[in-house]
Symmetry: C2
Subunit: 218 residues, 2 copies
DNA sequence: ATAGTCTATATTGTCGACAAAAGTAAATGT
DNA sequence: ACATTTACTTTTGTCGACAATATAGACTAT
């Protein structure tokens, strides 16, 4: 998949902090003290500042001038807003993928779907989650639109992952989602851009509604 | 409209640099030397670095480790990619606006349209451009989706403006675009979310095709 | 007792200097 | 003459210190 190679110290610090935030080790709403983090990571405040700046542009932290940065706090409304952004973007990605994906990329996607199916049968939850991520990622890359790819991979996906972890969403809905995946791939293989977009949007919409339901019931 | 108040020196430097880049005073592809800029603006390199970092997250400059930052170079392909992102996003904005815009906001939008119409009659090109920006901005705000608003206003709009200035696109297409605007507002006033989205997407698609044509013909 | 002010403290913003990496040009060897 | 190495210069990355702003607590006045 994607290789993010950290060459500078600020890179590593940024990646480490992002992991800590997304995984929940640094709890939402908590303050990111520059001095504190610089001693913890044993680096200068400058690299911490740079890392925090980048976290801000990923929408993982919010910063106020002369006050400081806090990890974004989670709300159902925020998650809904995020999915309202993700839905049309991935819809367009599927539309473009139907036109621009190479035949062998589509074949690989089918292979992935089959391995996904077998992991459903054996109830391997972890791989189901990873398989879902991989599925969306491949279609996104298949769109060949760099703006779209960068926007979703570098920003939105991480924020959504954070929400999922925080809200304890261990995404079930696998069996029905699998059928939706299948239909999307079929539309792409048929080079039906219009249908691919509609199906992808529906797929993400359903996921959103499912998340809303599970969240509201608890 | 939107007020971006710069409290810190880095804020001001960032805004100044962004203006210079979008307006073309700093030409695309040119290098942003930290030392050079720090002497030019009479500030320390730290604030220049922060400003450049923010420009990078706006997608206005590209940075490579240990090498430096360059203003993004323009290409027709890049502009197309950008419109392929913008189209579904603003489509969703129109869809949401049809549900969430307040009645008086819709009334204001109609007032704006009428003033737009009169400026078309008198051929005031500058106000036509500004009017178009204002139109899209109001619908975006009407969506009430903070993620969507921030994404378009803080990032995408600036990049598109840079492309327009650079490629010398003094957006004509006003009269037909006006009718499209009218139809979109009508759909929103009717609270027809589905139609509002379709019309907005078409509107942006047409704009893109128009830009492609004018660019290819020259 | 409460509101407001003032002082002390902690945190962020800015700066200049040093370290490390990349780029450049001269020098050497074949 | 060309390629490679080596010294040198330039630019970015990192650091610690100082300045400016915000927060917290003590103090005063009504």
């Amino acid at each position: 998949m994607l290789v993010e190679q950290a060459v500078t110290i600020a890179d590593k610090t940024f990646l480490q902090l992002r992991t800590d935030i997304v995984s929940g080790d640094i709890v939402p709403g908590s303050k990111l003290s520059e001095t504190e983090l610089s001693t913890k990571f044993a680096v200068s405040r400058a690299v911490i500042r740079e890392a925090i700046n980048r976290l801000e542009s990923c929408r993982l932290v919010e910063r106020k001038s002369n006050i400081g940065a806090r990890v974004v706090s989670l709300s159902l409304e925020g998650l809904i807003e995020l999915f309202q952004v993700r839905e049309p973007l991935e819809g367009m990605a599927a539309r473009l993928a139907a036109t621009h994906m190479l035949d062998n990329e589509i074949a690989d996607l089918n292979t992935l779907l089959h391995s996904h199916l077998s992991s459903i049968r054996t109830n391997e939850n972890y791989f189901q989650q990873a398989g879902d991520v991989d599925f969306h990622y491949r279609i996104l890359v298949g769109s060949k639109n760099q703006q779209l790819i960068s926007l979703l991979v570098n920003d939105i996906y991480h924020v959504i992952r954070m929400y999922r972890v925080q809200l304890g969403m261990t995404g079930p809905r696998v069996t029905t989602a699998f059928e939706e995946h299948q239909q999307i791939v079929k539309a792409i293989a048929n080079r039906d851009a219009e249908l691919a977009e509609i199906l992808m949007r529906r797929h993400i919409l359903y996921t959103r509604l499912h998340l809303e339901n599970t969240f509201n019931q608890t």
